[in-house]
């Protein structure tokens, strides 16, 4: 079972925060196929968001084939988001950390790194669509 953290100051709407946290838990292997999601009641009791917000998030996840409601039992994980298996993330995170260290050593501050990353991502996207 996972719990959700809703940041009221975030520009990401609450329902999307729930969707993203479920997806992230699936990618990291915290949630697996067959696991039960907390009920709407449990989520609102813990976070004080609107029940319809949770329902909307669960419907989104259902539409993407990740979860499935079972009458009287709750909502269960039935699939994984497409993408690499959990191990890949931590492996890439390690090599990125190494890269960030060398960038800092070369004198780049965080703002320059972020802008470099944005530029690189945009260039990569253009390359892929070209």
């Amino acid at each position: 079972m996972i719990s959700f953290r809703i940041d009221g100051r975030s520009v990401v709407p609450p329902y999307l925060q729930i969707v993203q946290q479920v997806r992230q838990a699936l990618r990291m292997g915290v949630l697996q196929v067959g696991d039960k999601l907390p009920t709407v009641r449990e989520v609102v009791a813990a976070t004080a968001v609107n029940p319809n917000t949770v329902l909307k998030a669960y419907r989104d996840l259902e539409r993407d084939g990740l979860v499935e409601p079972r009458a009287g039992l709750g909502t269960f994980v039935v699939g994984r988001p497409s993408g690499p298996p959990p191990g890949t993330h931590s492996r890439l995170a390690r090599s990125l950390a190494q890269w960030v260290r060398s960038a800092h050593e070369a004198g780049l501050d965080d703002e320059s790194i972020e802008s470099l990353l944005r530029i690189t991502l945009r260039a990569a996207a253009e390359e892929e669509t070209a």
Partner: protein, 302 residues
């Protein structure tokens, strides 16, 4: 959530005058079933008047009002379905929580005693202690638990969390949201604390100067509005295509809150989405706080 064909709250041209003062004028609203509606407005805008009219505690001087399909009154059949929590929490300070549960059982035909006892146990509120010695948060929770024990279909709350600390507020709202998740309950909640409302509410009634400015689904209302930032030029073209809600102008820059009527195509303006606070303040006619950094930077460049 299940919805019947008739909204629990429907008013048309609802008005209330007290001698020479108009407290509410020409209010037409609808709140669908299962919603938690935020009732927002400056002090004196008519929030309490609207809640009292809906609860049958005041009589309208004009217009129509239907609550759960009937005319609000002090009739016991009507009141059985309505929970009303006034600003000053109506508890007897010298009585215990247990005494209040006994009074509730005596006064209400439908009374879910087990739910109150269980709720108070969960919150760690002692049954046998005088209410006057409980904390403000505990008293508010007790009042809500008692109100919910009559299993109302409509709950009207007038600034229930204003006096509570952030933790007590969060717990109170979680309790409320949990009750709505159980189904069959619609809530109207007045408050000035927009951050709280943004989290828990999915419907908005915005009052200003005794009139309804906005009423509807919050996500839909936010999607209909936009903020345009651009040069301080003639805004006639914008005003022809859209409804201009608020304009803040400096010598060079104009910040316009508009209700859209189709897409905005003028490239001179940078369009951005609005949040609930910005929307509410826009309709109340005040500039909505500091402008985001990147927007004010645009003005300074010129």
């Amino acid at each position: 959530m299940a919805s019947s064909n008739v909204d629990p709250i429907q008013t048309r041209g609802l008005s209330k005058r007290y001698r020479r003062v108009t407290a509410l004028s020409d209010a037409s609203i609808a709140v669908p079933e299962g919603r938690i509606s935020a009732l927002i407005g400056p002090n004196g805008a008519g929030k309490t008047t609207l809640l009292r009219l809906l609860a049958g505690l005041a009589r309208p001087t004009g217009g129509e009002v239907a609550v759960l399909g009937s005319h609000p009154s002090q009739d016991s059949a009507f009141l059985a379905d309505i929970g009303f929590l006034a600003q000053e929490i109506p508890l007897y300070r010298r009585f215990t929580a247990k005494d209040h549960i006994g009074i509730g059982a005596h006064l209400n035909a439908r009374w879910d005693e087990a739910s109150v006892v269980q709720r108070l146990a969960t919150l760690g509120i002692p049954l046998g202690q005088r209410v006057g010695t409980l904390s403000g948060g505990q008293r508010a929770q007790l009042a809500l638990a008692l109100t919910l024990a009559k299993r109302p279909r409509l709950l009207l709350l007038d600034e229930p969390v204003a006096a509570l600390d952030p933790l007590a507020r969060r717990q109170f709202l979680a309790h409320l949201s949990e009750a709505v998740a159980g189904g069959g309950l619609t809530v109207v909640l007045s408050s000035h604390l927009i951050a709280d409302l943004e989290r828990i509410c999915d419907h908005l009634i915005l009052l200003a100067a005794s009139r309804v400015q906005l009423c509807g689904d919050i996500d839909a209302l936010l999607a209909e509005h936009q903020v345009l930032v651009g040069p301080a030029k003639d805004t006639t073209a914008i005003e022809r295509d859209h409804t201009l809600v608020q304009a803040v102008r400096t010598a060079r820059q104009a910040t316009l809150l508009i209700r859209r009527n189709g897409p905005v195509i003028d490239p001179a303006y940078e369009a951005s989405d609005v949040g609930l606070e910005e929307l509410v303040l826009g309709y109340m006619g005040q500039p909505a706080g500091p402008t985001p950094k990147h927007l004010s930077a645009i003005g300074e460049d010129k």
